[in-house]
Symmetry: C2
Subunit: 359 residues, 2 copies
């Protein structure tokens, strides 16, 4: 029997509380108290237990703790978009970054969940090996692994957030929730659309086209509505109002290409785009057509992501505080998880950033 201890430190990280208790010569209860900084432990005992913990490299089992305590320390970030959309999209990159960073600062982990088919048969997409009819929502949601979820809005009327809520989860929506009783964090899309038009008109433009995001998207809808209202208010004309199929450069390019293909020459002097990317796509088409930006046509984007500052000309755009949105969403979710729900809608301000693509 060469060694005092039974199994020195064969399995790092696999030491159990029970084991620590035995090694320290105390009960599991006491060990647990030490672990949780419970006051009623004699200092010397506490020290001894601590030392053993350090020696064996004890780390409490998170799963067991969750089972007991009800909280896992994991929140979900649910993005109802096909992977391809999320991949290259700088908006999502920024949002995910903000959510992850904030969560981490607040001591919890983020599980990112992409949900295909925002509109339809989400249920058919089996996710595990299990044969249970396996609605993705239920599986992830009520599995209990998640303390709550931040859901990004996508298609209007998507019942996802409401479903998750009904499943008993804490939910905060980023964007417009179908159901106004669901807490949400959004930006002032309507005001942003308005600001874009006002800026163009202020620069002397009167014949505008709107190349907005998808008509099924609530944010796109608000931006568009804001733009149209502002145009009407100041007496500018909306020559055309088209929708890109998503928020990408490519869809923006296609939308603008279709538009200018229709008429012989460009009969507008301003473009209000549904996103920076759409604006880039549109500008590309204009550029290829030999239309000068901003001299002939002014272009305003929406987002103010990094490329806006790099494009040539640099893009005038409506800045939305994505990081702040992500942060607030997490903060509010964590409040709710902690027992302080606030079923309110929070709308953050946007800001027009004037650069080179407008006069």
């Amino acid at each position: 029997m060469p060694d005092e201890r039974e199994r020195p430190d064969a399995e790092p990280g696999r030491a159990t509380l029970k084991e620590v208790a035995r090694l320290a010569g105390v009960s599991r209860s006491t060990t647990s108290r030490v672990l949780n900084d419970h006051p009623s432990v004699r200092p010397d005992v506490r020290a001894r237990v601590q030392r053993v913990m350090d020696e064996v490299g004890y780390v409490p089992d998170g799963v067991a703790r969750s089972l007991r305590g009800g909280r896992s320390g994991i929140i979900g970030l649910v993005i109802p978009q096909p992977p391809a959309t999320v991949f290259g999209d700088a908006y999502f990159a920024a949002l995910v970054g903000a959510v992850v960073a904030t969560s981490q600062g607040d001591g919890c982990t983020v599980a990112t969940v992409l949900v295909d088919e925002p509109d339809g048969d989400r249920g058919t997409r089996a996710i595990g090996a299990s044969e249970r009819d396996g609605d993705l929502v239920e599986r992830l949601a009520t599995g209990g692994l998640l303390d709550g979820v931040v859901v990004t809005a996508s298609v209007m009327g998507d019942p996802l957030a409401a479903d998750l809520r009904r499943a008993g989860l804490h939910v905060v929506v980023v964007g417009e929730p179908g159901d106004r009783s669901i807490p949400s964090v959004d930006v002032d899309n309507h005001g942003g659309g308005r600001a874009a038009v006002e800026h163009l008109v202020h620069g002397g433009r009167r014949r505008l086209v709107v190349v907005g995001g998808p008509r099924t998207n609530a944010s796109a809808r608000s931006r568009r509505a804001g733009a149209r209202e502002a145009a009407a208010a100041v007496g500018a004309t909306v020559v055309a109002d088209v929708a890109a199929s998503d928020f990408s450069v490519d869809s923006g390019r296609r939308a603008m290409a279709d538009l200018v293909a229709a008429s012989d020459d460009v009969d507008f002097d301003g473009v209000v785009a549904g996103s920076d990317a759409i604006a880039f796509g549109a500008m590309k088409v204009l550029h290829d057509r030999g239309v000068a930006v901003p001299d002939q046509v002014g272009v305003v984007g929406f987002d103010d992501l990094a490329p806006a500052r790099l494009a040539d000309p640099r893009l005038t755009t409506v800045r939305q505080p994505i990081e702040q949105v992500g942060r607030r969403a997490v903060e509010r979710l964590l409040d709710a998880v902690g027992g302080n729900p606030a079923a309110t809608r929070e709308v953050l301000e946007v800001e027009l950033v004037s650069r080179g693509s407008t006069p």
Copy 2:
């Protein structure tokens, strides 16, 4: 007593297996068997139990299952970079996207973990409310919530991956692991650097500058090494060899600005950049200086992310299969978790994509 059942369906999603068993008039074991599609359950009983499950909206508690089974169905994606770096970086966006998508296809969830301070005092960054000295690694790793982790390489010699492995976790590194015994998935950075130079030389360029990524980064180092070797082999001259502080547009801009500020005029005709973004930054400086790309100077990037196809001129670059990298990393991690570890290094091919920024 108006209702037969005790509490109809007051708490959706909170029904327990025990409850289902009671309602269906069977034992918990049988219920569990139904849940796991165990063959030995009489069809009628199975049907009855299923029905009760549906009625009460039963969803098994993931935490409890994990506690029992050992697997949580969650893998971590550990990125040792400050949030700010990860935010706008299209490379990470693509990688995260690929990892999430693959994982989801394989029935598990991805928890994204950003670790600040890739090099140093990671331990000082407390992550939870707990007072335990809380090394981030240990907390997340051995918490048991994670079945394994994909770790992205960053600073050379970072012990993170090795630490996690030692903590008993399954680990797959994306990039170069410090320790070659750790399974990894990488791309042929060296070959990519070589290809870039060969392409430039093939186009008649002989005086090259390398604007690589940080010298502390293994991928950047390999790309640089490949470029230098190729230059030496074909008799081209590396006029300058500078390192951007990271892989961003801005650091590329700064690096090139410093370079051209030094000499009066541009005495090179080719640039090998450490990333697409660095290439863009460099091109911006050249453009502002009135240097024509590709006529006077050819530029080759590395990554082939979306912007490469949109820039003007479109960027010639070394395409790395990021999605495939992410996918393979997850696949191999899941293999390991499932009991089929393979301590190998897998290197995927890159491909030079010739566009407008080179002659």
